[in-house]
Symmetry: C2
Subunit: 207 residues, 2 copies
């Protein structure tokens, strides 16, 4: 009874993890991030505090719902593009695909997260602090496609640019979510692609 890669155990784990993530986001959106204790979150998800910390290394992580498989997934996508796609495009399209998928699966959570991140923008930055490992993975994938040595700046810089683009996009999206988050990230990455040396032309509509 363990063939489909999803045993009872695994299912329970997924449910618990999801419950903790939801509880964190919901309560934080409701009362403000630092007026919610881990104790309350654990109670809401019907597990002990200790169990909370078995799933997430910190309250921050639970709020963002850091998915340890996201990094590998994106890296895989990057490498899967045919060789005629440039490293930059492979990276951009892989990131956008991940974001689109994520929003399709958990749009409601992101709408709540938005509320929290509007109050505490620093949490978004902190969220990226714990993902150094994933960043390394992505940088390696980009470097491999670009045929660059480990030590070259380009892959690292591109990945860092991705984080920056995501940060900016979420900030804008929080102010006005009439545009899809994915489009905002795409726009930001587009600007990084063509270069910031010149101020982009200023359109009337929108920002």
């Amino acid at each position: 009874m363990n063939q489909p890669g999803e045993s009872l155990r695994d299912r329970k784990k997924r449910r618990t993890r999801a419950a903790l993530e939801r509880a964190t986001v919901r309560l934080a959106a409701e009362r403000g991030y630092d007026h919610v204790t881990v104790e309350e979150i654990a109670a809401e998800a019907d597990v002990s505090v200790r169990t909370f910390f078995n799933y997430f290394a910190s309250k921050d992580e639970a709020l963002i719902g850091a998915d340890p498989e996201a990094g590998p997934r994106i890296a895989e996508r990057i490498l899967a593009f045919p060789p005629e796609v440039s490293p930059f495009d492979a990276y951009r399209r892989s990131v956008l695909a991940e974001i689109t998928d994520e929003l399709d699966n958990a749009r409601d959570l992101w709408l709540l997260r938005k509320e929290v991140l509007m109050q505490r923008p620093d949490l978004l930055v902190r969220a990226f602090a714990n993902s150094a490992e994933s960043e390394q993975l992505l940088a390696n994938a980009v470097g491999q496609r670009a045929g660059l040595p480990e030590s070259h700046v380009y892959p690292r810089l591109l990945v860092a640019a991705g984080s920056a683009a995501f940060r900016c996009a979420v900030t804008r999206w929080a102010l006005d979510d009439s545009v899809a988050l994915g489009d905002l990230v795409g726009e930001a990455l587009g600007l990084f692609g063509t270069g910031l040396a010149h101020v982009p032309h200023h359109h009337e509509g929108g920002s």
Copy 2:
């Protein structure tokens, strides 16, 4: 006895702040960041723990030595450039000037910080989390020069790129400090300026 803008009180405050910063960096480099308690830091600087927190909001902040005047200083520099200098160049040159100054004043501290950041790269990311206010300041300055409305992405994106460039540069500098940190930041910002869409040519020497 209070004309030269530096009273006894002010001098003591500066000394205490510097002592706490030095103690934090020194001890963290010596034993590892999380094997040093605030209690020990405070003892080393000959003040109470409570006083530590009067100067720095967190241990992280003390390690980086977050200077609340750095943001305003850079913003001022940006606005001081003659109008024929592009917003991008004004930003880049202002940031580089600040870094150069900082290294001239506290190179020894940065050499120790380097050791700590090599062990815990996340601290560098976290350091930027608390500087949202300064980022806003810089973005406004850039926006003003570029004649863009408050809501435009460009200034925000440029400032975010600056953080990313700094992060990458410090990481590389930590691995090999034979190149000046300022030059590495300059290089990274240069790439952001010309755009990341195409992989830069790979030189043999260096990275």
